[in-house]
Symmetry: D2
Subunit: 439 residues, 4 copies
Amino acid sequence: MAAAEEFFPGIARIQYEPSAGPGDVLCFKHYNADEVLMGRTMEDWLRFSVCYWHSFCGTGADPFGFQTLHRPWNEGTPMESAKKRLHAAFEFFTKLGVKYYTFHDRDMAPEGSTLEESNKNLDEITDLALQLQNQTGVKVLWVTCNLFAHPRYMNGAATNPDCHVLAYAGAQVKKGLDVAKKLGAENFVFWGGREGFLSIHNTDVAAELNHMAAFFKMAVKYKEKIGAKFQFLIEPKPKEPCRHQYDYDAMSVIGFLKHYGLDSHFKLNIEPNHTTLAGHSYEHDIVMASAFGMLGSVDSNTGSPDLGWDTDQFPMDIRNVTMVMKTIIEQGGLQPGGLNFDAKVRRESTDLEDLFIAHVGAMDAFARGLRNAVRIIEDGIVSEMMKKRYSSFSHGFGLKVVEGSSSLEDMEAFIKQNGEPKITSGKQEKYELIFNHYI
Amino acid sequence: MAAAEEFFPGIARIQYEPSAGPGDVLCFKHYNADEVLMGRTMEDWLRFSVCYWHSFCGTGADPFGFQTLHRPWNEGTPMESAKKRLHAAFEFFTKLGVKYYTFHDRDMAPEGSTLEESNKNLDEITDLALQLQNQTGVKVLWVTCNLFAHPRYMNGAATNPDCHVLAYAGAQVKKGLDVAKKLGAENFVFWGGREGFLSIHNTDVAAELNHMAAFFKMAVKYKEKIGAKFQFLIEPKPKEPCRHQYDYDAMSVIGFLKHYGLDSHFKLNIEPNHTTLAGHSYEHDIVMASAFGMLGSVDSNTGSPDLGWDTDQFPMDIRNVTMVMKTIIEQGGLQPGGLNFDAKVRRESTDLEDLFIAHVGAMDAFARGLRNAVRIIEDGIVSEMMKKRYSSFSHGFGLKVVEGSSSLEDMEAFIKQNGEPKITSGKQEKYELIFNHYI
Amino acid sequence: MAAAEEFFPGIARIQYEPSAGPGDVLCFKHYNADEVLMGRTMEDWLRFSVCYWHSFCGTGADPFGFQTLHRPWNEGTPMESAKKRLHAAFEFFTKLGVKYYTFHDRDMAPEGSTLEESNKNLDEITDLALQLQNQTGVKVLWVTCNLFAHPRYMNGAATNPDCHVLAYAGAQVKKGLDVAKKLGAENFVFWGGREGFLSIHNTDVAAELNHMAAFFKMAVKYKEKIGAKFQFLIEPKPKEPCRHQYDYDAMSVIGFLKHYGLDSHFKLNIEPNHTTLAGHSYEHDIVMASAFGMLGSVDSNTGSPDLGWDTDQFPMDIRNVTMVMKTIIEQGGLQPGGLNFDAKVRRESTDLEDLFIAHVGAMDAFARGLRNAVRIIEDGIVSEMMKKRYSSFSHGFGLKVVEGSSSLEDMEAFIKQNGEPKITSGKQEKYELIFNHYI
Amino acid sequence: MAAAEEFFPGIARIQYEPSAGPGDVLCFKHYNADEVLMGRTMEDWLRFSVCYWHSFCGTGADPFGFQTLHRPWNEGTPMESAKKRLHAAFEFFTKLGVKYYTFHDRDMAPEGSTLEESNKNLDEITDLALQLQNQTGVKVLWVTCNLFAHPRYMNGAATNPDCHVLAYAGAQVKKGLDVAKKLGAENFVFWGGREGFLSIHNTDVAAELNHMAAFFKMAVKYKEKIGAKFQFLIEPKPKEPCRHQYDYDAMSVIGFLKHYGLDSHFKLNIEPNHTTLAGHSYEHDIVMASAFGMLGSVDSNTGSPDLGWDTDQFPMDIRNVTMVMKTIIEQGGLQPGGLNFDAKVRRESTDLEDLFIAHVGAMDAFARGLRNAVRIIEDGIVSEMMKKRYSSFSHGFGLKVVEGSSSLEDMEAFIKQNGEPKITSGKQEKYELIFNHYI
């Protein structure tokens, strides 16, 4: 294997060509990395990241079908293939013009027959990753440990009924934290795919939650010990593979973290496809997490609202991404988080170029979302309507409520004096029409 | 109107007749109030309650159709009708043999044209209610305020963008708390039907959540001031009438309460029909709330899993009610909460006797659920399987995890010494088969 | 009451002002009625219609709340109010610039205490409607009979277990057909809101389907007898108010119609909010009905994908309406059907102007959808990709399949000769990216 | 490999032991094969079948995890393993006491590198299968072809945009029909897992439906040619793996079949887990297919109503299976169809005995369902209530409706003479309570 091998021949660095035609799919028509909006470059607002597992490890297999995606980097022994994959990935990041990537420990390097061997594999491959990062300037948005694919985790990792499995997960996370530090990852994600239950009949929920909290506390302690600075993130998902996952949605995780006194150590990595599976609207958990000061990062993807499982499609709905970007701008950006494309090409999209097309489509969609959100905010029409809508809380009786100095007795007195409130239109359709103006 | 008027002529006190035939629907075949199971009477375990709104105020109107239920107690002026309704209700409670009822302020007494008039109506009707309670021994399980039906609340009560509406809600709750104390209610429920949003476009989520927390704090303070002893309960519901309700499910409410430091003042009133609308299994929120020590009471009803709105049907599924009763027994009962039938006869069930049949069916279902759960627990087969499943946490390394004294470094050392954990079957089907033995 | 009374003072005829600003919500920025696209005016492609029930009869009541919308035309006796309402509606149609409206018999004129009285009311009000139609040029897109709101229909109309109710429904439909003919309606719709079941336990599905088919046959016969030319349409809906409605979705209705030999007499009126409630994507039933040659008309509205009931919101999603218009153009238009706004302002949208804003927003959205679809079709890039994708069926072996002259034996021979087919990328992301170019 | 090898050592023939205790999970407590109910043995009513794919080919892999189930019969070359698997399966069928099994062509014998090789493999393995069938008396309930797992089918089989793939599917089905005939299969199933679309953007629905119909017509012709007597069945599923599958649910398939004149050649194989994914109640499609005379067979399994994908769990809900058996008895049985357990042990159920426990649990559940349904029918209380409910259609005006000899004019005359119908309670809760008596 030579570093010089090219995995995407015929595809050059993707350029910004705003006037390209409808059939031109290998250029950006909206994403212009260095363009400044509201004092920051598009690149800084969007902080795009490519995910390693779907885009470089995905096979196209699904529960009803075999592998469809045969990638040129999957050749040789597992370790040889791991290295080729890394070269292919960095070629992709660079040609696409994305500055971040994310990975699970087991995507990066193959699991060995012992923990020691797995760790050794990881050391070897991450040496190469570090070298490629330094060569290209591409960085790690976040690292996560795969605590769900190996059969040992079938009944849970941190919530497994067998403490031996818990220990394995802990050992794996210890190494994951070391690797994250080594590579300068800006965040570290926990996704508890098997932390939940298949059947309530064989599950002691209270015990499992206690074990999960204990597990997180150990991770916090070890992170502090090694002096790592990355942000811990929990990624909620309601179900799949579990019937019920404890980290159901943003509010479930917030409730859990606050119950166990862990909330100052974690933020949330919200994936909209998980949000919609939890029965919420696309932007719901992003808005909710942000309202509680807990929005750390976003796994940018989408599902189809008529489907009940995680499809991890590339996000291309302009309305949705506008809503996401509006929330992100309003909280001042996502740093150190970003927009990670936890998305995969369809298993029927078997051409190598489809990997580029999909990312270009999603990046351009988000660039439009950013532009739209900026226009909405800079125009100020919506914010002015909102300010007026809530104006009663900025003075007098309303201000007392905000300040916590009113009482039910005050309220009764206020009503005895002022009588029935006026009915005020919510004007939802007007807001919708105006929103449509911008998209 | 004379107290002697009989509203359910031809229907006598419902009796326990365990050997009655399939067509006998006006007797209990399973519910035997005084029978003792696991040291407590069935009545004490089940603490059944009848809800006032559906059963005595319901008209059968739905969004696509007019009133179908014409009740003999709805005659005369609003206040006359309110009194007749109360007599009818107490006749019903007594004949059915249920010791508790629940109501909204506005079910009990008609809203007047001013707050003062509404309060006066409430005083007058609750005087009669108190008298009937004393005569019959029937008690109030909980009171709640209707903060959603009046147009003033269309944009929310505690979360209304207009503080004037907030004040009205506060004044109304103040009176509701007074009434609850007067009638000796054992709990007081908040259901925030309009506390959420229809459109994210016109909503300031963070502000509304702050206002809602401020509102709850005032209620806590006033309850303490009047020396009331009832338990505060919040009833989660994910949506309907709102598109999104802040009290989405058990974990959302727990997260909210803990964030605002309110968790010691509230427990949850779980309604399984709301739980299933939130995308969970029937028993999920009961199990979850119980695991967090927050299960206060249950609104016993059911939906149809294929429908996306609240149908408030009478709970008759033996499997489901067995799961509920098992959880309740395991936490030592529901006191001061109970099983309130927040359920309504179908609008097509227009016979007066249908009201009895529906309650009898649900009470008998729960009695079967209780008997099943008691047998499961007393047999001990399932609990023995569970004990074995989690046994690794009762000693050695597992116990250190439970006690919070282990670390990631310990875990790594444990794995380096002990290697790969053993794969252990979860045996879900065995648990299911055994569960079926009991139902 | 004088015809000269103005119900929407201060609102003038809505104009096309393509360069209006974001806050200008009482003008069209995209809908330009007379502009010609692909050989037809926008008005002809879109055939907008306003629905009478939501926009002129709606009260804003919901299952959890009382009336919020107090309209100036609801004054006086029921018949006086019916006339005012008609004047208000025609003022609205005219100011909005819409050429069609739709109504249920019972929206138009109040139900009397007997069938005769109801019919008389209908005669009187439709005389006025006809006069206003002639004055304004506004026409009836379709008439339908309300066979679901009156308590007599609570257990179904054509599928009621009591033939007496069936007879009532038949008598009502007979009059409805007469009225439709009198007013020159271009279509007649059947929506079977109560044709289904609440409980399978008390339902004889086969019998009820037979009765429903018999009912439709009588309607066909009577329509022919009176020489009416309007198109019969069935509007599918999966559930609500029923737990299960027989006309679940497009394919269910097609199956029913073909089973009973009724398919040449009916087409479908597809409502996307019903489609999504049936678990399909927004455009699914429109595409499906069109593929089977059965798409007759569209009830243009939308739901929220995270909600499980019919919200009848104004359609404003540009992606969705583009998909709808593309399908409509590809089948050569909807005539004699149209785009009927079976949509209601939110109950919180209490200002009279909200009724205009909502319609303007939806009309502009559809105008954008039409423009987008025209560009997609005229550019030909997508259709060229599609043509290539299916090209193997235009000649040789594929053509034999299309013509029905191939056999399994031929297929086996073909494979023995040609071996394994080539894997061809489906290129979904490329299609999505290109689609996004147009919206 | 020796036929004498035992794959389930320690497990003997499962016996009927009605008084076994709750922890005894390797015996039937309800299923007594030879017991006669309503003139037929339980075995004849239930016609249980074991599915080959889940129970003998399943690996426990899921989209988030690797293989967990390591079976002793998966050893050696693919062909050796195929033979071991067959022996293991027949040992299982015999020990379990089930008389039928079902399989996909590719479960039975490994796919070769050419069609010819695949067919040869199939010939060799089915020779052995035939021999084992003759030895044990176990028969084939149905055969089906796997037209979804191989990458060639990723864009569809009969609906693939490339006619070359269609040809491959046809060649494979030809062989499948030959095999089915050879083994004396009583039915042949088509499940169109990839017959639908992932994206409407790249799909020509009308063309694909035409191709699918042409494909079915060829299968009908070939079946007739070889003189096969098995029943053709189509198995509906709404989605997964496709976003939308054309055979969405029972009514969709009925509509399709009738449109293309194929309905006399096919019946339906209903899988309740698919039914619930389509948004219906568990029993819906069984009831619907039966009402249209199209219920041919049942894939007995269940999902969890809170999950949006096919979990293929073993059916253990007594209420549900009672409803299914009631429908089956009422249509006079399922012959030549049966109850095929298209169900898999959870991937966490890694013990070999779990395979037995799961089947025993499901068979016992269905035996209870059968017993319950027989009691409901024999008691006659429910049928008497139903007869009364629909009695108006057995004479006079109602009978004219049934006979198709009434008209809208008759109906109007009837109402003018008889006025308003009486309101009659639907008595849903009474039906539910009585139903509960039997379960």
